[in-house]
């Protein structure tokens, strides 16, 4: 027989923070109860309606089984020990202690403050679903369950972060996902000890053996429809509490060239758009580099009429082509960074100052040439056609610029060969990063650089080595 006051004291000795509240109440029959919960995270209304109200009817001599039956909450678990009670309270649930009983209950009351489901700002679609993940893991899992109703959908909950104890859900479909992959992902996450997980990007670093690499090893998505499509292809999805960005592994580079909309529009249009993205990315990365390499080392690369125009623009510019390009790119990066960080209203003014005052005046003053500004601006626009790769591509643009300014076009070729050589040897959970191109898998090319119609995509990607290969059967 446990004394209620002693139990409360025991828990409060561990959870000493003032936002841990203890609500003591007595039933009409005289039985004493205490619900301990974290203020602001637990739902007090639910506690009152589904726990306190029904327990009013408890008599003094009612046994624990009768009390449990009276609880109206759908989420009631038996508590194990004080430590588990502490964990659950920190997580937003309530521990219900009963005077004179050694057993206690955990009541699911978690309702952290958060925003409602809205269209994600990073993956806007003209056609297709507009729902996006939120920061609440329960909402996110609900959005997944709404789309994948099979009993084979497995969700494994783990806690990561010594201090934050962040909930991480590993999702996969049993019978489709490659055997052992989910366990491997879990192991990769759990074998790192960290204090706090503020966002899924931390988990993304855990999922790779080369966290310093320029190229990521897990795909990100803010949209449940894309996430579910990837999970149903045989990938493992990872949802992190507090982050609206979900992760999926294995990752292939081509995934970032695919957008959700590609699957909702006509396949020929999707193919054109994909090729356009690929071309834009190449132009975005290489154009500034080729521009300075042409000016410095191989003037023949520029057509004569254009060359005459450029030469009239650059004559009188005090800076060398590479310094000019560096400076222009530097200004672009600064403007980009500042416009993201600044408050909305100031940001608007900043873009006017940046575009008109800085750009126009710099050209008029003869510090920077017009072609340099056009090239940098066009390059920036091109890179945003593949927004998920923007961190990598902007870095690559700098690298190419350095190489082009020092070695010229041969440097561009060598750096490209080096990047190809690096990429073809890299893998994400056993899947080559540049598949289905290297190694070449013809059947997977149907959803690679070009997009086939839905009936041609009857099989899951071969490279994922799924247990169930067929995703579409025509009866």
């Amino acid at each position: 027989m446990a004394n209620l006051d002693a139990r409360i004291k025991e828990v409060k000795s561990i959870l000493t923070s003032q936002d841990i509240l203890v609500f003591e109440f007595v039933s009409e029959g005289g039985k004493r109860f205490a619900a301990i919960y974290a203020d602001g995270v637990a739902d007090k209304v639910t506690l009152g309606e589904l726990v306190v109200k029904p327990l009013r009817a408890v008599r003094k001599d009612d046994v624990i089984k009768v009390i449990k039956r009276l609880l109206a909450s759908p989420e009631v678990k038996d508590g194990k020990d004080t430590n588990s009670a502490v964990e659950e309270i920190s997580d937003g649930n309530a521990a219900l202690f009963i005077d004179g009983e050694s057993e206690f209950f955990i009541i699911g009351l978690k309702k952290p403050p958060g925003r409602t489901v809205a269209e994600p700002p990073t993956q806007i679609a003209v056609k297709g679903p507009r729902e996006g993940f939120t920061e609440d893991i329960k909402t996110n899992l609900g959005l997944i369950r709404k789309r994948i109703k099979t009993p084979n959908l497995q969700i494994k909950n783990i806690k990561v972060g010594k201090q934050s104890q962040t909930n991480v859900a590993i999702c996969y479909i049993q019978g489709i996902c490659k055997k052992g992959l989910a366990e491997k992902v879990e192991e990769q996450i759990l074998n790192k000890e960290i204090d706090v997980i503020p966002d899924s990007s931390y988990i993304a670093r855990f999922l790779t053996k080369k966290p310093r690499s320029l190229f990521k090893r897990s795909a990100t998505s803010e949209k449940p429809d894309i996430f579910c499509a990837k999970v149903s292809e045989g990938r493992v999805g990872i949802i992190v509490d507090g982050s609206p960005i979900a992760l999926t592994v294995p990752y292939m580079l081509i995934e970032d060239f695919q957008s959700g909309e590609d699957y909702y529009i006509e396949s020929h249009r999707a193919t054109i758009i994909r090729l356009l993205r690929l071309l834009s990315l190449l132009v975005g990365i290489l154009l500034p580099a080729f521009y300075i390499a042409a000016q410095l080392f191989k003037i023949q690369l520029i057509p004569l009429k254009l060359l005459l125009k450029i030469s009239s623009s650059v004559s009188g510019i005090p800076l060398s082509p590479s310094i000019e390009m560096f400076l222009t790119l530097f200004v672009l990066e600064v403007l980009n960074e500042a416009s993201i960080r600044m408050p909305k209203y100031v940001g608007l003014a900043l873009s006017v100052v940046g575009a008109l005052v800085l750009g126009d005046t710099a050209v008029k003053a003869g510090i920077i040439s017009t072609p340099a500004i056009i090239i940098v601006a066009f390059s920036a626009i091109c890179l945003y056609t593949v927004p998920d790769l923007i961190e990598t591509t902007t870095t690559l643009r700098w690298l190419y610029l350095i190489v082009a300014g020092s070695v010229g076009t041969f440097g561009i070729v060598l750096l490209s060969a080096l990047i190809i050589c690096y990429l073809i040897s890299e893998r994400s959970y056993g899947v080559p990063l540049v598949s289905p191109f290297a190694p070449l898998i013809l059947s997977d090319l149907k959803d690679g650089a070009f997009k086939s119609g839905i009936f041609s995509l009857s099989k899951r990607p071969k490279v994922l080595k799924t247990q169930n290969k067929v995703r579409l059967k025509i009866k």
């Binding site: 070695v407 010229g408 060969a417 540049v434």
Partner: protein, 365 residues
């Protein structure tokens, strides 16, 4: 023996990738000075000289591919089983040397090509030296990487080669090839012999032996791929001669010369450079292949598995040689075009023949 089996596991390549290598890398290695060198002695019979070279070497490639079909052991394992460890090591040392020697001319060719095509004014050796950074990185990579590089390079090669061919069509004059047997056969043979050192694909196959899963019909696929590569080179040689005729021997780096008369160039500039630069990506992979194989042979001989150290050593020697041989390409070509080149070719041809006679060894489980 267990170590061999493990090492081949990490070192896998597949037949499709070998075929791509035999087409893309093979052709790319023969687009720079091969056509104009052939035309130097053979004139409009350059295609005949190329045909002889390819015909002879296709037999050698077939022999190597056939040898691959007989066993799932690597060439080194089979040499050890047949002759014992020491003779196997001696033969593999020779093979390593041959691969190294076979890489010297292409690298120096590349150096000259880069100096001419990538820069307005011929620069010093310095701008070419970053090539060795790539080489050091690529040479230490395994065969699986080589295969994937071939997968990536093949479509680039096809697109670029087609673009160059199409843009060359405007200026061709087929009558330059007439009469067909204008040049004396001696000149054609001399031309063949002086360029035969460029043919080492059968030895590449020997190095890949045991590193790919042989299936029925693969021997034919491999041989036909090589022959197709040969056809493409011969076709390019014909095209080149049809554009430049008797001026061909003086038109160095044929690949960059045939498309300069393309009408679009007058309007939108030297767009052919973009194609040439893309093709250069394939070429650098093709050039380092011999060095990769040299590293592989050294690894087998020494049992030393730190491929980065071996790559650094090979490239270090090559950098020194490139610096020494700067401005001496003529002498180098004379050396390779003479007896030395024939010795290299003979060795590269004898080894596949040898591979047909050595023991197969028991099948790997």
């Amino acid at each position: 023996m267990q170590a061999f089996v493990q090492s081949t596991g990490e070192n896998k390549i597949n037949v499709r990738q070998i075929c791509f290598i035999l087409i893309a890398f093979n052709v790319c290695g023969k687009l720079l000075l091969f056509p104009n060198n052939l035309s130097y002695y053979a004139g409009n019979g350059l295609w005949l000289a190329a045909l002889i070279d390819f015909a002879v070497h296709t037999l050698s490639v077939w022999a190597a591919a056939y040898a691959c079909s007989k066993s799932d052991k690597t060439f080194y394992q089979r040499l050890v089983i047949t002759f014992g460890k020491v003779p196997a090591k001696i033969i593999f040392s020779l093979l390593a040397l041959l691969f190294f020697a076979a890489a010297i001319v292409p690298i120096n060719e590349q150096k000259l090509y880069v100096q001419e095509i990538f820069y307005d004014t011929i620069p010093s050796l310095i701008p070419f030296l970053p090539f060795f950074i790539f080489s050091i990185y690529a040479v230490q990579k395994r065969f699986s990487n080589t295969g994937r590089a071939a997968d990536i390079c093949f479509p680039i090669f096809i697109a670029c080669f087609l673009a160059l061919i199409i843009s060359s069509f405007t200026e061709i004059n087929l009558s330059h090839l007439l009469p067909v047997f204008n040049e004396p056969i001696n000149n054609v043979l001399k031309s063949s012999l002086s360029n035969i050192f460029r043919f080492n694909e059968s030895a590449i196959l020997l190095a890949f032996m045991g590193h790919f899963k042989y299936k029925k019909g693969d021997c034919t696929k491999i041989t036909l791929s090589y022959a197709l590569g040969g056809v493409l080179v011969i076709f390019f040689c014909i095209l080149f001669y049809c554009v430049y005729a008797t001026l061909s021997p003086d038109q160095f780096f044929a690949v960059s010369k045939t498309s300069i008369f393309f009408s679009a160039i007058n309007v939108i500039g030297r767009i052919d450079f973009i194609v040439l630069y893309a093709l250069e990506i394939v070429m650098v992979f093709a050039v380092v292949l011999n060095l990769q194989l040299c590293r592989y042979c050294l690894e087998e001989i020494t049992g030393y598995k730190n491929s980065m150290v071996l790559s650094l050593a090979i490239n270090g020697v090559l950098i020194v040689l490139t610096v020494i041989l700067d401005h001496k390409f003529g002498e180098l070509q004379k050396l390779y075009g003479g007896v030395f080149g024939i010795i290299i070719f003979a060795a590269f041809t004898l080894l596949p023949a040898l591979s047909l006679t050595i023991k197969k060894g028991a099948k790997n489980k």
